[in-house]
């Protein structure tokens, strides 16, 4: 939809002053943008409400990744806003760009990026990782402009931008470092040892010792990568014999508390599941999002992760797959549910469910189809993160399901009352 042009000023000076006109003809079809009794809500207020929910994952990200995360957020948002200010003056589509809305989307995009992008080393080179930040901001605005301000399609601009960047620079998006708890916020997340030493079962936030002289902890294989390797049946070079699921969870993955609270490296805004959930619950409490969407996504994803085939063991000849893995004697309910919990917290599924899938640009208008949309999204996310990419599977699922929304709405639009 194009933004209507402002109305021409009224001809009569008395009308312009708001004085009751004695002899003009009555006006019953108001001009575009003319005087209206209005509820008082503005785009700024609407977006501000969403910002309040994002404060929680943003705060967690700044604490866990320090000032580099702040650089990432600041550069992406500044670039996006600057590009919007310029682009708004260009063409009819430019008017569809809204600065507060762009700022909100830029914040979401920056929360999906790793903190090590905020590195000034290599900034003099065009191939320095820092330049991905303004590129991200600019790409977001271009995508928004193409999508007519997200009012003309069911593609989430943040997801589209992220996937474009990730497809071009895939290895750069894997995060390996996170600040130690004694260096929260002020530490340098890139100041980490070259290796992660012995794998520990102690949660990051309780008792893990800080490596001497550095601010951060290095993790060679974050949980998302380890999980993907396992579900794809890949073995590490040093592995011999059979690797059952139980051993994998115990020996290869960090404590589940690290993914729930903090301690496992990842994107800025998705590393702490609890903060993402709190932010999402806050948005639900304020009525900013439809609670059914994240609830059903999580339930559907949980169910799908329980049911979909996963390797219950990786042997020398290859993985041994099983549907409904927890019924296997070697797995059991406890291990099966634990594996599902790892999948839910290691991937950005929760962040996608609360902050992206609930966006008006992609979610259906009608209540009934929203529930179907959420269930399909949850199942597809689970499948994609198991067999394609744990880090990006939920985003790809959102892209696919979102593009199907207009088609489905055509057939499921609520029948008018009359």
């Amino acid at each position: 939809m194009t933004t209507p042009r402002p109305a021409a000023p009224p001809e009569d000076d008395a009308t312009r002053r708001g004085v009751a006109v004695e002899s003009s003809a009555p006006v019953l079809a108001p001009a575009v943008g003319s005087h209206r009794v209005h509820g008082g809500w503005t785009v700024d207020r609407y977006v501000a409400q969403h910002f309040q929910g994002a404060v929680f994952p943003l705060a967690a990200g700044l604490l866990l990744y320090g000032w580099r995360a702040l650089i990432v957020v600041a550069v992406v948002m500044t670039t996006a806003l600057g590009a919007t200010a310029i682009w708004r003056r260009i063409g009819r589509r430019g008017r569809d760009l809204s600065p507060p809305h762009t700022a909100w989307l830029a914040l979401l995009l920056s929360l999906m990026l790793p903190a090590h992008f905020g590195s000034l080393s290599g900034v003099t080179s065009p191939y320095g990782v820092f330049w991905l930040l303004p590129t991200a901001g600019l790409a977001l605005v271009i995508v928004l402009w193409l999508l007519r301000g997200a009012a003309g399609s069911a593609v989430h601009p943040v997801v589209a931008t992220f996937l474009l960047l990730a497809a071009a620079c895939q290895p750069l998006f894997i995060s390996h470092t996170i600040l130690h708890r004694d260096s929260l916020f002020i530490g340098d997340v890139l100041d980490a040892p070259a290796d992660d030493g012995a794998h520990t079962a102690t949660p990051w936030w309780s008792a893990r010792d800080q490596p001497s002289g550095v601010d951060a902890i290095y993790v060679a294989s974050p949980a998302s990568e380890s999980l993907l390797n396992y579900t794809l049946g890949r073995r590490e070079m040093s592995d011999r014999g059979t690797m059952p699921l139980t051993s994998f969870l115990r020996d290869r993955l960090p404590p589940l508390e690290d993914l729930i609270m903090a301690g496992n490296p990842g994107p800025i805004g998705t590393s702490s599941a609890i903060f993402v959930i709190v932010g999402g619950l806050f948005l639900m409490y304020r009525g900013s999002i439809d609670y059914r969407i994240p609830l059903l996504i999580v339930i559907a994803a949980f169910t799908a992760l329980v049911v979909l085939p996963v390797p219950v063991a990786i042997t020398d000849v290859g993985p041994r797959w099983s549907w409904l893995a927890l019924r296997e004697p070697s797995v059991g309910w406890a291990v099966g549910i634990t594996f599902v919990n790892y999948q839910l917290t290691a991937s950005p599924l929760l962040f996608m469910a609360f902050f992206l899938a609930t966006s008006p640009a992609v979610r259906p208008m009608s209540g009934g189809w929203r529930m179907v949309y959420a269930v399909v999204l949850g199942v597809l996310s689970a499948a994609l993160q198991l067999y394609v990419s744990t880090s990006w599977g939920p985003y790809v699922a959102l892209l696919i399901v979102g593009t199907l929304t207009p088609l489905a709405e055509r057939f499921t639009q609520a029948k008018p009352l009359a």
Binding site: V19, A20, A25, P30, V37, T42, A418
Partner: protein, 426 residues
Amino acid sequence: MFRPVPAKGLLKVPIAVTAPFPSLEPKSTGTNVRQAELLLSSLPSAPATLAPAGGTVGVITAATLTTGRETPAIQLTATSSESDVPSSATTSIDGPSRLKDHLRDAKPADIGRYIDAFQAAGVWADRWTSPDLLGQLHQCLKRPVDTILCNALDFDAALPLQRSVAGAYATEVVAAVAMLAALTGASRAAVVLDVTANDVAKSINRAAVETDVSVIPLRHLYPQPNPTLLLHTVTKRQLRPGRLPTEAGAVVLDAVAAAAAGRCLLYGEPAVRALIGIADMRGQGATPPNDQTRLLSVPVGMSLADVLRSSGLDASPFELRASSPFREMRISTDCVSSVGGEVAMYLVAPQPQVNPSPCIRCGWCATGCPVRIHPADILQAAQTGDRLAAERHGIDSCIDCGVCSYVCPSNLPLLAGVRSLRVVTN
């Protein structure tokens, strides 16, 4: 409760006909007339044009009703100032017993006679809460009707016009509803009230003791008074906006129209005064204090400027809106009062012109729409002139309530978009 406004000065008595206007044969200019005297020869299927006060007939001119419709009018210079005090003839009439007599004698075959009586008394209504009453009654001659609903709901608590009419004229309202039920053979007749209007409900129940008229309390949320929504809520029937409720087997009229019809039935009183309400919403709070709401009985043909002046509400600046403040129906103070036009008026502060922001697809317009259409998509269709797309998104179901424009955070002119496409189509 309804303060009578004396008739004085120049009145423009509207002739309630629709275009194309027939040739008119009014009384000669300069003729002196008494109150309720015919001002021009009867027109077929149109209510009679009666003098609201004694005075001198002037020329034929044009006037605009509070619905925005332009209509021819007869100028009348009022020379006397009768107020709405019931004449000795009416006060001596026992309404309930007269009603009993009417009900006893009423037969469906008599409906034509009663339609003529209403027309001769100048009783008519054609507004948002009360669709073309005479048109509905004419349709009753051909279509079966099983429900009579009297809509005594108000748009908001700031202006309890319908509720006040139902309370003050309970006998007349019940009489109209009961008679319509008897004439149409309707099996159900009811007055719809807000759940909080207990006192009015008691009055109605008392007046309806020997009739089949019941009271339906509704938890009222705007825009419940709209006939499409009201019919759906009470009877679960669907009525396309703009169509008469008789197409859904019901007659819907508001309390103001029912009171006028009831007074005609019981006392033979002509409809020469309009019961209107004006709420001054220019204050800070959402609900104006009581002294800023006026319930008035004004002579037909009086300009709203004169009405405001006589009720002390004309302190500028203001913007005058008819029907509901959300419907964006700005009217001029030159509009004239009438029995059948919009009767609820709101004074609002002149709003600064706001440029719309881009649509952010928040979906609030669709969520808030009481008839479940997609206003944002309709606006988009209006901008491209795509009537088919607008129909797909439900433009024909729009009841013109203005909720979408009210809630839109981007300040998009959603209601104006719907109206513009309808104008183009018409």
